[in-house]
Symmetry: none
Amino acid sequence: MAPGDDSRTATEGRRTMFAAERRQRILELMHANGAVSLRDIAQAVQSSEVTVRRDLRILEADGLLNRHHGGATLPGALATLPGALSREPTYAQKAQVAAAEKAAIAELAASLVEDGDAIVVGAGTTTQLFAQQLTRHAELAVVTNSLLVAQALANAPRVEVVLTGGTLRGAILALVGSAAERSLAGLRVRRAFISGNGLTAERGVSTPNMQVASVDRALAAAAEEIVVLADHTKIGVDTMVQTVPTDEIDHLVTDDAAPRDVLDELANRAVRLHVARP
Amino acid sequence: MAPGDDSRTATEGRRTMFAAERRQRILELMHANGAVSLRDIAQAVQSSEVTVRRDLRILEADGLLNRHHGGATLPGALATLPGALSREPTYAQKAQVAAAEKAAIAELAASLVEDGDAIVVGAGTTTQLFAQQLTRHAELAVVTNSLLVAQALANAPRVEVVLTGGTLRGAILALVGSAAERSLAGLRVRRAFISGNGLTAERGVSTPNMQVASVDRALAAAAEEIVVLADHTKIGVDTMVQTVPTDEIDHLVTDDAAPRDVLDELANRAVRLHVARP
DNA sequence: TCGTTTCTGATCGGATCTGATCGAATAGTA
DNA sequence: TACTATTCGATCAGATCCGATCAGAAACGA
């Protein structure tokens, strides 16, 4: 015994985390990112993957999250996570395509928004990233048909988020149908930020789904100016249903890998170009 | 029993620390660090771990802290890590209250839903769990103002989800406001499953927020029968705004820890009771 | 001074938590 | 469809922690 001995190995400060503390931390990670891979959690809480797996099992039993191969998501939510989870392959895959370009486009597009604006935001992986950039704006009013856009702005204190009603399209977590279009009828905002699956100089923005196209048209009709967000993989691509013709597009935000000739032709048709460099 | 009673006669001038003094220091340590390990406490107050353990047990009985394996934390906040990203403590905390009971309630309530039904589901942690139980139902139509309910059912292939429009209330991820209420105006479904913050026999369901209350009323008005989901922590509790009076409640789904007298009184008023056992 | 009460510390058995490993299941790819 | 690489689940082992019991020390009253 050596109570007065002061040559102790000072373990203080880096106290090991309690189990409850660790689980709370996991929940915070979940709410911050929507979805987290098991490996990332293990690293974040400085525990083994086995322990994290156990925690996830407990938290799932309490209904606080959903487990998947490779990680977990918030109940219902799905993620734009590097590679891991794939309950929803289509969406996760879409988010992976040109991820860096999309992030750069989102950031550049956000600079087109000013404090006090009222805007409309469509559904899509790019517009979701775009919405995340808007959390710091003040006195913003955002109308959207995308649950992911709405969630991205849910905690922004000075942004008012209005969701259109409508039928949920699960694959993209967006609202479609006549109810969605009707709720946009009397609306008038400054700018609409929409995406799509393809954009050509001849036919403008297009998407393969008719319901989605119909809503996108209604979104566009509610705005004075239309801003299209499209990474280079979509430029020059035409899909089934036209949503916004070229002459109605006011701005295009894309990245520097987009084919030059299509951009030139778009510029000739009075589309103002904003090229992001990832 | 008087082992915990330590209102000792103050023998002044002694150098040994009194029990009350030691416990006070423990509380100071807790408030300074949020969470402290048992070993650190023992070293800080120059006592054995056994004694500290005893103190923690007493302090926990007084509700002044929560014990865990290896130490203790403050009752309210577990989020104490430097640079913690507690984005949404309120919702996560709410979900943890009576989590097992809520899960059992959700499961029992789901048995009240039949294939082919059209139902309305309100916002809340319990209704979210309830929605997760519905994914296996077929030909179901679900109308909700909760983003979490909608997301829980997003991937259910045979469930049609309709979201009301409205302004997003970020803290609970639900849609409120006149737009939400208007979109429910012409609707008629078989049953409404709603929650709330309190339920008494005299005043029925209540919630502390007026906007939420208004939407809940609109949800209830759209259904032939009203089913209330409330765990025992809400039974006998009255909050500010009444949403559904008792005589309009057709079913109550709760757990077996609910106070007997309130349940009896509710049964007297024609509320059918469903008691889940976690 | 003595006995009683209360508090503190030590020890031991049992319980809990954590980490590692291996077979089984799952997702992605050709 | 078949194959391969992860990932999951179950089991086991080690370490830590908790609770209960017992013994010693200090304080109080007679």
